[in-house]
C-alpha cells in the first residue's frame, strides 16, 4: 500500500506527468493564485502611475515649490490669482492625526493589555468580538456622530462658538483608529513566548511587573507598528474628518479651532473640477503627497516588525 503511494508521487516514475483533469486543475489553480498574489503589486504600481500622470503637469508647469509647502493660502478657484499653498491643510491633517493618537494610544494599549493578559474565557471572547465590530463601523457613521452629536456636546461643555474642530475630529479619528490598533497590539503581546512570563513569575514578579518589565519591552516593536498603522489610518481617513473638522482652511492655534485635512480637500473638490485643469492636477499632487507619506509610514511599520524578527 505505502509502496504504491510512493511510486505515484515519485518524480522519477514515468507516469507521473499524466495530463488528466487533476493535472489541469492543479495548473489552473496555480495560475489563479499567482494572479491573486501579484495583483496587489500591480494595483499599487497602477495607482502610483495613474496619480503621478495626472499630477505631473501641475508639478512641472504651475507648481511653485516654496508656495506649495510654505503658504497657508489654498485658493485654487480664484479668478485673479489662484494660489496652491498646502501648509494649512497639512497642519490640519497633522493636528487631527496627532490628537487622534493621543486618544487612541492609551485606549488601545490598555484594551490590548487587558484582553491579552488579564481577561479570560467569555469576557475575553466577547471583548475581542466587540472590538472587531467597532472596527467595522463605516467612517461616514463616525462622521455623522461627530457632526451632529459630539459637536454639540463640545459647544455646551466648553462654551466655544463652534463644535466642529480639531478636538471633534481628533476624538472621532482616535475612536476609529483604536480598534485596529488594539487588534494589532494584542497580536504583538500574544507573540511574546509564555516562557518569559513564567520565568518572571518564578522570580516572584507581580502581574504588573511581568507586564511592565517583561511583556511590553519584548513586544515593543509590534506595539510600535500598531501605533504607526494607526497613524496611517488617521492620515488617510477622509469622510469622518470632512464632516467633523469644520472644513475650514485655518492654521490651528488651539484644539477648538476648525481645520481642513488634505484628504477632505480632495474629496470635496475633485468632483467639481474640469479634467486637466490646474486645480484638477493640483488635487492629484495632494494625492501623490498622501500616497508618499502613507507609503513611508507603512514601510517603517514593516521594517520595525521585521527588526523584531531578526533578533
Amino acid at each position: 500500500m505505502s509502496a504504491d503511494i510512493v511510486s505515484l508521487h515519485d518524480p522519477g516514475a514515468g507516469d507521473v506527468d499524466r495530463r488528466d483533469a487533476a493535472w489541469y486543475w492543479d495548473k489552473l489553480v496555480q495560475v489563479l493564485v499567482f494572479a491573486g498574489g501579484i495583483s496587489g503589486i500591480v494595483c499599487v504600481l497602477g495607482i502610483f502611475v495613474f496619480i503621478s500622470k495626472e499630477g505631473f503637469g501641475f508639478i512641472t508647469n504651475t507648481m511653485n515649490f516654496t508656495e506649495f509647502f510654505s503658504s497657508p493660502e489654498w485658493r485654487p478657484t480664484s479668478d485673479a490669482r489662484p494660489t496652491y499653498g498646502i501648509l494649512a491643510l497639512a497642519a490640519g491633517t497633522a493636528s487631527v492625526t496627532g490628537l487622534a493618537m493621543l486618544v487612541a494610544v492609551p485606549f488601545s494599549l490598555g484594551a490590548a493589555i487587558y484582553i491579552g493578559e488579564f481577561a479570560t474565557g467569555k469576557v475575553r471572547e466577547v471583548l475581542k468580538v466587540l472590538v472587531e465590530l467597532l472596527a467595522a463601523i463605516p467612517s461616514v457613521v463616525w462622521g455623522f456622530i461627530g457632526h451632529s452629536i459630539i459637536s454639540r456636546l463640545i459647544v455646551t461643555m466648553f462654551d466655544v462658538p463652534v463644535g466642529l474642530s480639531v478636538l471633534n475630529a481628533g476624538l472621532i479619528l482616535g475612536l476609529m483608529a483604536a480598534p485596529i490598533m488594539t487588534t494589532i497590539a494584542e497580536d504583538a503581546l500574544k507573540a511574546v513566548p509564555d516562557g518569559f512570563r513564567e520565568a518572571a513569575e518564578a522570580m516572584g514578579a507581580t502581574r504588573w511587573q511581568v507586564i511592565w518589565r517583561v511583556v511590553l519591552p519584548a513586544a515593543k516593536n509590534g506595539l510600535l507598528s500598531a501605533v504607526l498603522l494607526g497613524i496611517g489610518r488617521g492620515f488617510g481617513e477622509t469622510m469622518a474628518v470632512l464632516m467633523a473638522s469644520g472644513h475650514a482652511i485655518n492654521m490651528p492655534d488651539s484644539i477648538f479651532d476648525p481645520v481642513r485635512a488634505l484628504t477632505a480637500t480632495i474629496a470635496a473638490e475633485l468632483g467639481e473640477t474640469a479634467h486637466g485643469s490646474d486645480h484638477y492636477s493640483a488635487l492629484f499632487t495632494l494625492g501623490i503627497l498622501l500616497f508618499a507619506v502613507t507609503f513611508v509610514i507603512n514601510l517603517t511599520a514593516d521594517i520595525v516588525v521585521r527588526g523584531r524578527g531578526k533578533r
Binding site: D79, V155, P161, V162, L164, H247, A268, E269, A274, H275
Partner: protein, 288 residues
Amino acid sequence: MRWRTISLAAVLAVAGTTACGRGNSRNVLQNKGSDTLVNVAQAWAEAYKTVNPNVAIAVTGGGSGTGISALINGTVDIANASRKMKPKEMEHAKANGHEPKEFVVGYDALAVYVHKDNPITSISLAQLAEIYGEDGTTVAWSQLGVQLPEDADEIVRISRQNNSGTYAYFKATVLGREREYKLGSLDQAGSKDVVALVSHTPGAIGYSGLAYATPDVKLVPVVAGDGPAVMPSVGTAIDRTYPIARPLFMYTLGEPTGDEKAYLDWILSPAGQKIILDKGYAPVTELD
C-alpha cells in the same frame, strides 16, 4: 446540451428585442449641477413625467462646478448652474467641439442667515464684505453693535466649498471681483448644510438660497449703499430691490434639439415657472 444552447439563444434574442424596444420608446436626459437648483430640477423632472412619459430626466446635484465640468466632459445633457459659466470653461467646452447655450430659468434671492436668537436687524453689503473679505476687520458681533452672550460674540463665518456657484456669486457681488475670501471659514458642501449649521451655532453667519430657509434660523434684511434694508423674498427678487438676487441658469451643449428643446421650452412655459415659484424662487416670466 443542444437543447440548452437553443433555448439559451432564444432567451437572449427575446431579451435583446425587449431591450431595444425600451431604448426606442424612452429617452433619458441627464441633468446635473447646482445644489441651489437641485430641488426645483427634481420637481420639474417629476412633473415632466406627466407631460411626456417617454422622456425620463435623471437629476443629480453636486454644485454648479460639477454640472458645468460634466457638461464640458460630455457626461450630461443639461447642466444646472447658479452662476454664469466662466470664460475659461467656455473655452474648454469649445475646445471639445461645442458652444454651450445659456438659459435663464429663474431668480434666487441669496439670503443671509444668522441664529434665531441673534438680535441683528439689518446688515449692509459693506459690513458683509468686512466679515467675509480678506483683511476684513470685523471679527465680533459687538463691532456691529449687536449684543450676544459673551461666548457667541466671535463671528463664526460659514461659507461654501470653492466650486459652488453660490460661493462665486456671493464673492462677485459682496466682495467684488478683486477681493478674496478671508480663509478660515467653515466651508460646507451643500446649501442645506449651511442653514443646518447656522441653526445650532449661536455666533454663526451664513449665506444660502432663500428656498432653504427654516424656522430655526433668522433671515437678515440687507442694505445696499444708502438704500433701505430689504428682506429677501420672492417678491423682492422679482422686482430687483433685494441686492443679492441672482439668475439661475441651465446650459446645453450647442443649440438644444428634440427632447432637450421640448423640456427647456416646457420649463420656461407658465406650467414650468409655476413650479419654480412654488419652490421659493422667482420665475423669469410674470405669472398671474
